[in-house]
Symmetry: C2
Subunit: 401 residues, 2 copies
Amino acid sequence: MARRVVDAAADRSVCVVASAMGDTTDELLGLAAEVTRVPPPRELDMLLTAGERISIALLSMAIMDLGRSAISFTASQAGIVTDAAHGKARIVDVRSSRVLQALEEGKVAIVAGFQGVSSELEPTTLGRGGSDTTAVALAAALGAEACEIYTDVEGVFTADPRLVPGARKLDRLSYEEMLELAASGAKVLALRSVEYARNHGLPLHVRSSFAEDEGTWIGKEAEQMDQAIVSGIAHDAAQAKVTILAVPDQPGVAARIFRPLADEGANIDMIVQNVSAEGRTDVSFTLPEEDLALVEPALERVARDVGGSGVTLDADVAKISLVGAGMKSDPGVAADMFDALAEAGINIEIISTSSIRISCVVRASQVERAVHVLHDRFGLSEDALTLEAHPSGQDRADGRG
Amino acid sequence: MARRVVDAAADRSVCVVASAMGDTTDELLGLAAEVTRVPPPRELDMLLTAGERISIALLSMAIMDLGRSAISFTASQAGIVTDAAHGKARIVDVRSSRVLQALEEGKVAIVAGFQGVSSELEPTTLGRGGSDTTAVALAAALGAEACEIYTDVEGVFTADPRLVPGARKLDRLSYEEMLELAASGAKVLALRSVEYARNHGLPLHVRSSFAEDEGTWIGKEAEQMDQAIVSGIAHDAAQAKVTILAVPDQPGVAARIFRPLADEGANIDMIVQNVSAEGRTDVSFTLPEEDLALVEPALERVARDVGGSGVTLDADVAKISLVGAGMKSDPGVAADMFDALAEAGINIEIISTSSIRISCVVRASQVERAVHVLHDRFGLSEDALTLEAHPSGQDRADGRG
């Protein structure tokens, strides 16, 4: 990694954001588990921030060992100011004067990712994907040309390449497409970092830590370019479905259901309300499986409060999503998707759409097959490139023009 | 450890200074060695300070797990301000308002030892024994009643108990005695922390991490108390001796020898100059064995500059020291010491004394025997307590009062 940084820094200023090495974070969590069952969030942040402190110092040493001057910065030194929400802090300001000065002095700046400092000078961490967020925020503050995200895959793929061996690396995606993919379960980039990049018009380059090849560029939607109808498929097997039964179909019911659940901190995703029968309706929604424990204690009470007859929980569901900027101008994609899933005998339980995304909730046991079926149907494979470039009678082919 | 802290904090405010756990520092040094042969000092400090960050967070969690409120502080948060000498920084200020506030709120404050922050907000470390120094400096700044130093031995002993099984734990020592013992090789307390405690009149209590018993109290010299002639014996096997041969016996020669060596950062200890013969003299001095590499490149040049005929190096020497406040009023101790060593066939190569200490340089291979011989001769053993309390004809008995 040091060698790559030195090469990259040969003809330009480079600021590197490093996360903790390999299993460091898990090891630290293991130590905490030895002394307490529920680590206090502030002390957990104090503990975990040791991880990047180690990695930035070692990377800086390794770079200097190659003869290039470098200096490491903790989040506090690099001015990554966050709110005080330990474990899931949000960056509120980037005061990067020390980093900028180091770059102006010709040094490679190595900044600790994932961590921040609150205005009360307390250590904080940014939560999952935090290092990406640090990198994007810092790149925007420094006025960088681009932010490269090094990861263990070669870029963003048409589907999870571990699941679909024929999945194809995408050369380019719009912020909006990447946002939909990330929100739909693609783990390659954290949602928050993509939002931040979009808001600052900062080009992102997702590429491999282990290969020199170009990865996937993420930027503004290119008006002139041919827009793929379906750019990629994301899936998320860690979803759960909750249904509140026989709720009186009255104004204000939805708010009385979802306000208390949101207050518990649950990320409610898709919401559907069945057609009313005899003045009563079933209200279903999905949420991350890990959030089920947050809402479970409140659900019976919520159902009673709104006059529902009961609650069902279902952790065996998954979500599969098609994302593509070209979808906006092609109303046939949804029908194609439903058709393909039906042909494969996969039942759709909930549907949700945005202008560039269609998501379906299916049985968790069927989601991997659903990914394969849709990847084939929409011609996303490496082998299907020719087919895609010369559409052969599929009903969405015109839209690709 | 958390349980002990909670017990200690039952009826008073407690601030704990923690060093890194077990082998953490060695592990971090090992990681650095994997990426570079000579780690840059600033980055090494960035790396090593991760160690206490981990230990303070875990200790704080463990204390909270026992139901006591606690909060951890890095050196930066605790206001341990140092100079910028990475790896061997000196504390220049303690701005402990955050620690004080935490104590006033009834929390146990856990502060990272060994580390500091420079006025440029850079991470620093204090070098060997740094956590003791942090504890003493913080205790003085907070106006603490006393500073307890928890260690792997039960206190300060009449000699190294690993070497002399009959060595006796001392209940009380004056700052001056402890300083002489520390300077003479006793490793139980770092010299700098004792100096700091003396300068602030802060009582120190050296005790075991593993037992509840009282250890050794170190404080002002008690005028009324009976002063032991010999309180303890320290030895240091990691010494080296250098002799510059046939130096012209002229004014200014000593400065021309020792100024350049001091500039190399070597800690020159004992210096002796033989009686002049034919206008020339041999100049010998001792220094820590690890400092030999610092001065070696300069020695030949220094010898030539002062007109000496050559240099001899000898890493096989050791220093043995007797320390005791009562020595001031007993001129017979030195003679007793030389006599005992002579009887045991141990040759003395260099002698150096202060008002409460006598040190001799001997062959390294003989130093352990020398410790035993002197420990017996001065009746320091547990078994010798009766003898010591009722002196029986030894010539220094009167001095004991």
